[in-house]
């Protein structure tokens, strides 16, 4: 089966650097949960997290638990490496998953050959630890 780029062990791999407002996103993933910013004023879900709600302007948010179910909204297949960290993983597919709750996030699919990736494919969350600190929200075919 195909590998995902996150299996790269090179030191120049661009692991996420948690920001102040985004740190809880990564903490929850370490516990196996995908949680997304939800505005407590108007209820809008927002990913990536921002300092203010783009809909109502509120700064009051909570981290809402997602079911982990979604579908592939769009995808690209990198067939020629454009970064040294990814050279060993060509070709790889990057997908935008649309969660059933609405937010979309970038990810990779575990154990799905790139030529089988399609828009609309149902997927489910597979949190994958890639370092002591970082667990990525990868997905598997549902």
């Amino acid at each position: 089966m195909t590998s995902t780029p996150a299996e790269s062990t090179r030191p120049d791999f661009p692991l996420p650097v948690p920001s102040e407002d985004g740190a809880p996103f990564w903490e929850h993933l370490r516990n196996g949960e995908l949680r997304v910013h939800r505005c407590t004023s108007c209820g809008r879900l927002q990913h990536p997290p921002r300092l203010m709600c783009v809909q109502c302007g509120s700064t009051e948010r909570e981290w809402a638990l997602m079911s982990g179910r979604g579908t592939v909204y769009s995808f690209v297949i990198t067939r020629q490496a454009v970064h040294p960290s990814f050279e060993g993983h060509i070709p790889y597919a990057t997908v935008i998953v649309e969660l059933e709750e609405g937010p979309r996030l970038a990810s990779n699919l575990i154990d799905v050959p790139v030529d089988e990736v399609a828009i609309g494919m149902p997927v489910h969350l597979a949190p994958t630890a890639v370092s002591d600190e970082i667990t990525l929200p990868l997905f598997r075919r549902a």
Binding site: P14, V17, P48, S74, S107, N108
Partner: protein
């Protein structure tokens, strides 16, 4: 109320290895543009630049012998700020804050920093990149390919239709001795047989990587009447931000209504079009989102030859564009849009009165006209 015109254009040769610094390239282009306009270098009192470039305005001003730099600045997105820079420069002249504003760039985009490389454009997982780069979205083309795939899905646009963009532009480049691919034809089969880089983008969907420089000189339309060249008067100029747009709309959904209202013309009034084609499908998407054709009809339009200089109803990217002339990130296309008003393009549209130029994903556009 000062109307503003582009009165000087200058460019260096386009190559894969310029053999000189980006500052030297910028200066060579600026001197060419000032000579073209018939304006002395010491008259320059405004300088504007792409924020991604390395050549600061102080260095340029010092070399030119500028005595009093009254207006300078940069626009900070990426390559897609050409029209925004024209908008800023025109606003400054319109307001009387400067008289002779030069927009310039010099880039070693092939022999120096290559924008298609993740180690150049990547942000090492910081900021918003924390949510994209670990999954292999590393360069501008990754996000643009993602949008392209979704639009293919929603509107039925095909890779073969992307190919007709590339083939039409190559025909134009084959008439343009300055173009990188002047002497190399391209067929639709060449395009369809070319390898994928970031699928759905094939090799011939992707822009060139270019070393070169370019410059524009702007003054008031009144001043323009005393200069050497027929002025290309700015009829409209707009810019737009690009956040929270998702994977279908280009920023033209914001800029187009403002552009057409400001210009007081309709898309069907435009004679010739330049569109920022870092990737071929963005010509199709711009034709749709600016309203030249309805959504979903851009692909069939280019497939039927609509954008070809030879026989098309709306010639697009008449110098060969970023795919086949050079990739100066909008600068060479702004220059071509001026040439069309002057009547000096190598793929000249007869009696062109209104010349349109988009400088990237709908985030900025200008309409030029002949002096009235």
């Amino acid at each position: 109320m000062h109307r503003v015109a582009i009165v000087g254009i200058g460019e260096t040769e386009y190559s894969r290895a310029s053999g000189r610094s980006e500052t030297r390239l910028a200066l060579d282009a600026i001197l060419a543009a000032l000579a073209d306009a018939g304006i002395d270098r010491t008259e320059v009192d405004g300088l504007m630049r792409w924020s991604v470039d390395t050549t600061g305005e102080e260095e340029i001003a010092a070399n030119l012998g500028v005595k009093d730099l009254k207006w300078f600045g940069e626009v900070n997105q990426a390559g897609n700020v050409g029209a925004a820079l024209v908008t800023h420069a025109a606003a400054a002249i319109h307001a009387g804050l400067a008289n002779v504003v030069v927009i310039y760039r010099g880039v070693n985009g092939r022999s120096g920093r290559r924008y298609g490389r993740g180690e150049v454009t990547g942000r090492r997982g910081q900021g918003g990149a924390a949510y994209t780069e670990p999954f292999g979205l590393l360069t501008p083309q990754h996000g643009l390919a993602m949008l392209s795939r979704r639009r293919m899905h929603e509107f039925g646009t095909t890779s073969r239709q992307f190919g007709w963009v590339a083939v039409s532009e190559r025909e134009h480049a084959n008439r343009n001795p300055r173009a990188t691919y002047y002497d190399r034809p391209l067929t639709i089969d060449d395009h369809q047989d070319s390898r994928h880089i970031v699928d759905p983008f094939r090799l011939f969907d992707c822009c060139l990587e270019t070393d070169g420089g370019g410059a524009l000189v702007l003054v008031s339309a009144e001043r323009a009447r005393d200069l050497k060249q027929p002025p290309a008067v700015i009829r409209a100029a707009v810019q737009a931000g690009y956040s929270e747009r998702g994977f279908v709309d280009t920023a033209a959904v914001s800029t187009a209504p403002r552009l057409w209202a400001q210009a007081e013309v309709r898309p069907s009034d435009i004679d010739v079009v330049q569109i920022y084609d870092h990737f071929a499908p963005f010509v199709i998407f711009a034709l749709e989102d600016y309203g030249f054709v309805p959504r979903g009809e851009g692909g069939p339009f280019v497939e039927a030859g609509g954008m070809r200089w030879d026989g098309g109803s709306l010639p697009v990217n008449t110098s060969g564009g970023h795919l086949s002339e050079a990739y100066l990130q909008g600068m060479n296309q702004l220059i071509e849009s001026v040439r069309q008003i002057r009547g000096t393009s190598t793929a000249q549209v007869a009696d062109a009165q209104l010349s349109f130029c988009d400088t990237g994903i709908g985030t900025g556009a200008i309409i030029l006209e002949r002096d009235r």
